[in-house]
Symmetry: C2
Subunit: 229 residues, 2 copies
């Protein structure tokens, strides 16, 4: 119940459970067993049960977990009571496509405003999100009570942009720039570093060179590898 003691990994999985449960195939079924949910998310049944235990949800040994009730339990834990507003800084190609991708993904999280240095972009809207000059960042972020920032600026500007966001009152940053940000540790930073991810895949992909035509492997549970860690 008290949010602070839920481990980060568990939060990620809860988000994934919710997404799986919201798919038609699960949403229109009264209940689901731990091993079914585990299979959908590529985890073990024990992991699922442990996570649900952590959020204080109980199922029944006969029918498993009630989907609707489980969804509201997860929502009660994950969703903030109030709407969270998000700003995105850097409206290059990456920023624009990420904005388009993330807009309207969650009922409690709204991408409200964008910032860029390029005068041609200032004043226009992208995916319905108005773009301002970064010079107005502090003013707009504070006045709208924005608490989350997405960084899609070039690496050399990421540190400065992050500092501006923090100074304006942001308490969480989703950083796409391939740099390590130096900001107060009370601000939660989530790094999405595609260059690292690609190199990591390249490193781990060099085992058994596969001959073609063996998609027959249906080995069941394996571990999640979620971005993150």
């Amino acid at each position: 119940m008290n949010k602070r003691k839920i481990p980060g990994r568990c939060v990620e999985r809860l988000i994934i459970y919710r997404r799986a449960l919201l798919q038609d195939r699960h949403l229109h079924v009264p209940s689901i067993f731990s091993h079914e949910l585990a299979f959908a998310c590529r985890l073990t049944a024990a992991q699922v049960r442990r996570d649900l235990m952590l959020i204080g949800y109980s199922g029944s040994p006969t029918s498993g977990y009630e989907v609707k009730r489980l969804l509201s339990s997860i929502g009660a834990l994950l969703d903030p009571p109030d709407m969270r507003e998000v700003a995105i800084v850097g409206m290059g190609h990456l920023g624009r496509s990420i904005a388009a991708y993330l807009v309207n993904r969650s009922p409690k999280i709204r991408l409200t405003v964008a910032f860029d240095v390029n005068p041609e972009k200032i004043g226009s809207t992208f995916s319905g999100v108005p773009c301002h000059s970064v010079e107005r960042l502090a003013e707009v972020v504070s006045s709208k009570g924005i608490t989350i920032g997405i960084l899609t600026v070039p690496p050399e500007h990421a540190q400065a942009a992050a500092e501006h966001l923090v100074q304006a009152g942001v308490t969480g940053i989703l950083n796409f720039a391939p740099v390590c940000l130096h900001i107060p540790e009370k601000v939660h930073v989530e790094n999405i570093d595609m260059t690292v991810a690609l190199e990591k895949v390249a490193f781990f992909a060099c085992r058994s060179q596969r001959r073609k035509g063996n998609i027959d492997d249906h080995s069941s549970t394996s571990n999640i590898d979620q971005t993150a860690p």
Copy 2:
């Protein structure tokens, strides 16, 4: 030395160490101490020393680690002997900007070819990468010996696209689609799930609401929070 026993987290950090070392500020200095490298990467000095121990690199207590020699040690471990070719599937806005972002990032990893279903995109090139029809995926991927696939297709097509990639001989997938892929576990999958990351930031960002004007915090070492998880 033998790659298989290096933990995934450590690999991520090694990639980050290398990136930090390649910055001008470090590249033009003969040597670096563990705490300096740690600071640049927002880690602890002990963590850095432990990681470098794992790859069998030794520094000197007086001058620390020789930057150039350390770089080649990391490269010897991370870099494949041969060039790795990468295919990207899905050339929507996200796919195109990710392609632009990842092209020419690493000397040993080359984004070679793209695929899409849209006839208007087939035949053109994006960031210098030629785009083919997905119908030719198996043929092109096998013939070019491509071993890594990037998935930027809509979620409902991700599973099928992943299976095609695996069947064509891919052994590593960087998946941007917000779904859990069901493929043989010998294929390394790295998930970059922006929707999960954003919700996670929103969850953890709701602590102490900050008043403005306190960027003065210079508290030192904290943990990495790399995408992944």
